[in-house]
């Protein structure tokens, strides 16, 4: 076979054309040689060799005879003459020749794996940029979704104006019109006309004008402020002074005018006359206006209102009076003249007797003309008396006058004390006007009450009228008034004289005190006093009329004194303190005895000790006896295992840990687990906490509004995730992630719960609270903030003495 193969292989297709004969012979010769060679039994396997035709023959007439000899690259360079540059090239070529062959390319799987690895590494490297953001979001106390919420901001108006364009037909129409009228659209401040006018004014002029305007404005504002300030002043006195000053000024002016320019003065006078006439015509100051009516309501309670009304009336009077430039020779005449209008007024007003004006008028009249008052007053009063005070309004008014009277009297008393000496003298002289009435009283006992009241009014009238009548000082009038009172006091004193009279000076004091008590307290005071009044006095104070109350008041004040005198002798037995103290010392011994007696049987301390011992015993671990009787010995009833055996099988219990109360002699601590409570207790330490104290303190800090301020409560209860209803939460994107982190970094200082800042900010709100609590709140707040962050938590714990703060990392 081999041979055949060889033969087959050696066969060559003959391709040569030229030297056919030669080559044929040669071939035959070689074949022969080979055949001979193969005869010698040796199995020479010769690789099939492919011979190329060009070995022998070549179409380019180049024989490849040296084909077996390898050509070296360097030999190729032989024909070229050696030169320095070629040596290096030769060397390089030699080097190349020695290098190993290029490695085979990797398999497809291998290359793909490498590609994958590279790609994966790149991708995971890219994605690590999110690490920080993810961590931040995971640890954030609060996340608000959607992430990139556009913040509403007010755009500047210029921007809006510049970007705005007319779109709708209506808008365009409007704009057309504006354009037609050369109204500027984008900068609508000045029309061309205005601009032109502006241009017309030169700069200096404008500046001057501006300065002027500025000055004027400043002045104006200054005056305005001043006026406002003045207007705001509530002091009546100030205004009165102001008014008076003005009046004085006017008068002075008038005087000067009179001196300088009599004609002008006359004119002025005429003007005043005119005013007077107008006043008379208009009845402006008649207290009939709205204001006056409102004041009338207030007058009952308000001294000021009353005074204001009075002033009005005075003004009326003043205005309606005819001005007399002439000397006061015909003063009486004037008085007579003035009387007329006053009476007219009175007639108008007095139709309504309930009207407080009337009273006011009376008084005012009284000041002016006592005579008239005397003529008019008594009938009214008597009227009131006979009508038996059926009308309440009247009563009220009378009450009012009484109160006034009372007030004045109070003032008087102060002065009275100074002038006590004089009083005595003067009182003797002043008796006459009142004596008439006292005599009346004596005559009629039935009318006593009414007359009492009358008397009071008389007194009132007296002290009002006296200054005019007798030209005496007001203090004197008051004294007379006091006398009047004394008279009233005298009435009961008809029956009880001696001690009462002696008490008069003191009584004055009591009156003053009573006055100081104020009106409101009167009713109560009266009641108290009436209770204390003796029967006799009760007869006197049997009153049906409210007017009588005033009377009673006076009487009570008298009675009060008397009662004081009488009650001084009475002694009420009350358990006074000092006696009790004395008794205590005595009783202490007693108490002890009683207690001893009561608890004679039981020895508490002993019992307690016993109990403690028993509980200790119960808690002790017990020995375990494992002996079984009958094993290894005889059994049966009455037989005991031997001591040796018992000892052997007894397992001694190891003493447990000492009891908690073993050093506390007075305490038993129950170490048993409370099952009911245990159901609600945490048995094992939950995950994020490192030790029990951390967990306990986290539980201990309350978060409710009961224990925290509103703001702290809100902060403590903010949810972790806030979403907006009906808003799509898009997945995170590059932009909003990295924007948000920037924003968070910027916001961080604001967000960090610095305990200093919020406290100072919150201070005004917390100011009314006690300082300790606010501080506590802040502490609690800081604690909570600490708890919210994961790494470090700050806790508030309660020790026996108070709250304290502790940090645990």
């Amino acid at each position: 076979m081999a041979k055949e193969e060889d033969l087959f292989y050696s066969e060559h297709p003959v391709s040569a054309s030229e030297d056919e004969g030669d080559s044929d012979e040669e071939r035959k010769h070689r074949k022969l040689l080979e055949a001979i060679g193969s005869l010698d039994g040796k199995k020479r396997r010769k690789l099939g060799e492919r011979t190329e035709a060009s070995l022998q023959v070549s179409e380019f007439s180049v024989s490849s005879e040296g084909a077996n000899n390898k050509i070296e690259l360097s030999e190729l360079l032989q024909p070229i003459k050696a030169s320095s540059s070629l040596v290096t090239l030769k060397k390089q070529l030699n080097k190349v020749k020695h290098n190993a062959a290029v490695e085979l390319p990797l398999s497809k799987e291998e290359t793909q794996r490498i590609q994958r690895q590279v790609a994966y590494e790149k991708a995971s490297k890219d994605i690590t940029k999110w690490d920080r953001i993810v961590l931040q979001n995971r640890e954030a106390d609060q996340l608000v979704f959607p992430l990139n919420q556009e913040q509403l901001a007010v755009k500047p108006i210029e921007e809006v104006l510049t970007t705005w364009k007319a779109r709708t037909p209506l808008e365009q129409e409007i704009f057309n019109i504006l354009h037609k009228n050369k109204q500027p659209v984008t900068d609508p401040l000045l029309t061309p006309l205005e601009e032109a006018s502006l241009k017309a004014m030169s700069l200096e002029e404008a500046k001057l004008r501006r300065a002027e305007l500025q000055k004027a404005r400043a002045l104006q504002s200054y005056y305005e402020a001043k006026a406002r300030r003045a207007k705001k002043i509530k002091s009546k006195k100030y205004h009165r002074v102001q008014k008076k000053g003005k009046q004085k000024e006017a008068l002075k002016e008038f005087e000067t005018l009179k001196m300088k320019n009599p004609e002008a003065a006359l004119e002025e006078l005429q003007k005043m006359e005119r005013v007077r006439i107008e006043e008379r015509m208009s009845l402006k100051h008649q207290n009939s206006g709205k204001w006056a009516r409102s004041k009338a309501i207030m007058a009952k309670y308000d001294q000021e209102a009353r005074r204001a009304m009075q002033e009005q009336l005075d003004k009326n009077k003043e205005l309606t009076q005819k001005l007399q430039v002439v000397s006061d020779s015909d003063e009486a005449q004037v008085e007579e003249e003035t009387l007329v209008p006053a009476s007219i007024n009175e007639v108008q007003v007095s139709t309504d007797s309930s009207n407080p004006w009337m009273l006011g008028k009376l008084r005012s009249d009284a000041k002016d003309s006592g005579i008239e008052e005397e003529l008019q007053e008594p009938p009214i009063l008597s009227n009131a008396g006979t009508k038996n005070m059926m009308e309440e309004e009247e009563e009220l008014s009378e009450e009012e006058t009484l109160l006034q009277e009372f007030e004045e009297r109070r003032h008087l008393r102060k002065q009275q004390q100074k002038e006590e000496d004089r009083e005595v003298e003067q009182s003797s002289g002043e008796m006459d006007p009142d004596k008439r009435q006292t005599s009346d009283l004596e005559d009629d006992k039935k009318d006593e009450q009414i007359l009492d009241s009358e008397d009071i009014f008389q007194n009132l009238l007296n002290h009002n009228g006296q200054p005019d009548e007798l030209g005496r000082s007001p203090t004197c009038a008051m004294e007379s008034d006091a006398n009047g009172l004394e008279k009233i006091a005298d009435e009961p004193s008809v029956r009880e004289e001696g001690p009462f009279l002696a008490e008069q000076l003191q009584r004055a004091q009591t009156m003053e005190e009573v006055g100081a008590l104020g009106r409101e307290e009167w009713a109560g005071g009266e009641e108290v006093q009436t209770d204390a009044v003796t029967r006799e006095e009760e007869q006197q104070t049997m009153i049906t009329v409210p007017e009588e109350k005033k009377n009673k008041r006076k009487k009570n004040s008298l009675i009060n004194l008397k009662r004081v005198l009488s009650s001084s002798s009475r002694t009420i037995k009350t358990p006074a303190l000092p006696t009790a103290v004395e008794e205590e010392e005595e009783e202490e011994g007693n108490q002890k005895l009683i207690i001893k007696e009561a608890f004679a049987g039981d020895d508490v301390i002993k019992d307690f000790l016993k109990e403690k011992r028993s509980s200790e015993q119960a808690g002790k671990p017990k020995n375990i006896d494992l002996t079984l009787p009958g094993w290894g010995e005889w059994g049966g009833t009455g037989l005991k295992p031997s001591t040796k055996k018992r000892k052997r099988f007894l397992i001694r219990a190891t003493p447990g840990p000492p009891r908690k109360d073993h050093k506390l002699p007075n305490v038993i601590i129950n170490e048993k687990r409370d099952l009911l409570a245990a159901a609600h207790q945490v048995n094992e330490l939950p995950f994020p906490f490192n030790n029990c104290r951390q967990f306990q303190s986290s539980i201990r800090a309350p978060i409710g509004a009961t224990w925290n301020t509103q703001r702290a409560f809100q902060r403590l209860t903010t949810p972790h995730v806030i979403t907006k209803q009906g808003h799509i939460i898009a997945a995170m994107t590059d932009e909003d992630a990295f924007q948000s982190t920037q924003a968070a970094q910027q916001a961080k200082p604001a967000y960090s719960l610095n305990p200093q800042k919020p406290r100072t900010r919150r201070k005004p709100a917390d100011a009314p609270q006690p300082l300790s609590s606010s501080a506590k709140e802040a502490r609690r707040f800081s604690a909570s903030s600490g708890a919210s962050s994961t790494a470090v938590s700050c806790h508030r714990t309660f020790s026996g003495k108070g709250w304290r703060e502790c940090d645990c990392a």
Partner: protein
């Protein structure tokens, strides 16, 4: 005489307007308000009880499909719109506010395997058993017009899933291989193959949008980079993963729903061990979807229940089931983080609240603050046994309950056996393998 009196400034306590809050001066001295912890504990207990009382998550059922709902897709622009594809090739578009179907189209013959909406919301893509990828307009055709797709691409093999790129006009399909398509072309831009088995789902990463993940039937999870010629890496699990979902807030996290009843959350950079193994289902998990906040995800299972897991917890916080709900095939979490939709075998789509006891509608500020407070209280006392017990208490269907019990017993037995084996063999010869590593077979580079 000047009389000294106690006086208060009305500014301190009088409101300026009627609508101002009434300031109640209050002393926060702790001695005045004792028993803080017991009082708050009671409040927490009440809060947690009330939460269970008000836990009524089921909202509505959308019926109309004539076969099991195989896939669903959210509309990226409209909260009220949802798309669903059924096993009979029908696609329905629903209006959730009206709770009615607005459009129905016969998209494919056989199953609608995959459904995805274009990022702009104007059109959507479907793939079906008829080897076609169809591109549809979101708008329904005018009156009298035929319901026709914008484009149809006929492939050589069945496509089992589709997902659209989040920003570009690119979508990916899977079947025998993962193909990346340009919307304008009828042939794929790029194809990825690794191994021969079929791929059942592919998902684009919503943040790093060039990344993709796919699950294949040979138990692999494979990651791809759209820009590269080759896949990136794959991890082989013990059992097949049905689908995966990327976390929309954490670029490198994804969760895979596995046939072995568990879900695995991976960090794509460390595939050799999942970050978390979520176990609670008692049958194969078929679908998973992340909440848009990335804090939780919802999973649908063959055990006829839907569970909500916190992304960083091993056990579910909530389980939803109804008597009539069969195997849940697809599930979605609405883009406003409020609702959950699940499509199941028995042809219904159900709408649930994501937070079972949440009160829907507008809340007054007082309600809000009180809810916040009770939420915080529940958090604060969550470790207390009573509160934990009440908060965890759920009623389960008997099947799930007994199955869970059985599995617990099995797991315990296995653990015990391993422990015994370890005890009775040479130290170190039975290594302690953590639960997370148990389920990973290999990571292939």
């Amino acid at each position: 005489m000047k009389v000294k009196i106690l006086c208060r400034n009305p500014d301190d306590y009088v409101r300026e307007t009627k609508k101002d809050i009434q300031k109640v001066p209050r002393n926060y001295d702790p001695t005045l308000h004792p028993f803080e912890v017991p009082r708050e504990y009671t409040r927490a207990l009440n809060a947690v009880k009330l939460e269970r009382v008000f836990a009524k998550p089921y909202l509505a059922s959308l019926d109309g499909h004539r076969d099991g709902v195989n896939c669903m897709a959210k509309h990226p622009e409209s909260l009220a719109t949802i798309l669903s594809g059924a096993c009979d090739g029908e696609v329905k578009i629903w209006n959730l506010t009206k709770r009615e179907c607005t459009r129905t189209l016969q998209a494919h013959e056989g199953f609608v395997r995959g459904l995805c909406v274009r990022f702009c919301g104007t059109s959507f893509f479907t793939v079906g058993d008829d080897k076609a990828v169809k591109h549809w307009n979101m708008e329904s055709p005018g009156y009298g017009e035929q319901e026709e797709p914008l484009h149809t691409i006929l492939g050589k093999t069945v496509y089992t899933g589709i997902d659209h790129h989040w920003k570009d006009a690119v979508f990916a399909t899977c079947g025998q291989q993962v193909d990346i398509w340009n919307e304008q072309r009828s042939s794929p831009m790029r194809s990825f193959t690794w191994g021969v088995d079929s791929i059942c789902s592919v998902k684009f990463n919503p943040i790093e949008t060039y990344l993709l993940g796919s699950c294949s039937s040979d138990r692999n999870i494979v990651l791809y980079d759209m820009r590269q010629a080759t896949p990136l890496k794959k991890v082989i699990l013990e059992m097949r993963s049905n689908t995966l979902c990327w976390n929309p807030m954490e670029a490198f996290m994804f969760t895979a729903a596995n046939e072995d009843y568990n879900l695995y959350t991976f960090d794509m950079r460390f595939l050799d061990m999942p970050v978390m193994v979520h176990m609670d289902h008692v049958s194969a998990v078929l679908d998973v979807d992340y909440s848009p906040t990335g804090k939780e995800f919802v999973s649908a299972s063959f055990d006829k229940s839907v569970r909500i897991f916190p992304a960083d917890k091993g056990h579910s916080r909530e389980v939803y089931h109804t008597k009539r709900m069969q195997h849940v095939i697809s599930v979605k979490w609405s883009s406003d983080n409020r609702y959950i939709l699940c499509g199941s075998d028995e042809m219904n789509i159900r709408l649930w609240k994501a937070n079972a006891s949440e009160k829907l509608g507008v809340l007054t500020p007082r309600e809000k603050s009180s809810l916040n407070y009770s939420q915080k209280l529940k958090e604060k006392f969550q470790h207390h046994p009573q509160i934990k017990r009440i908060a965890r208490h759920r009623h389960l269907p008997r099947a799930i309950y007994s199955q869970a019990k059985e599995q617990r017993i099995m797991r315990e037995a296995r653990r015990k056996k391993e422990m015994n084996r370890r005890k009775h063999s040479k130290p170190g010869s039975v290594p302690l393998v953590p639960e997370k590593k148990k389920h990973i077979v290999a990571v292939v580079k």
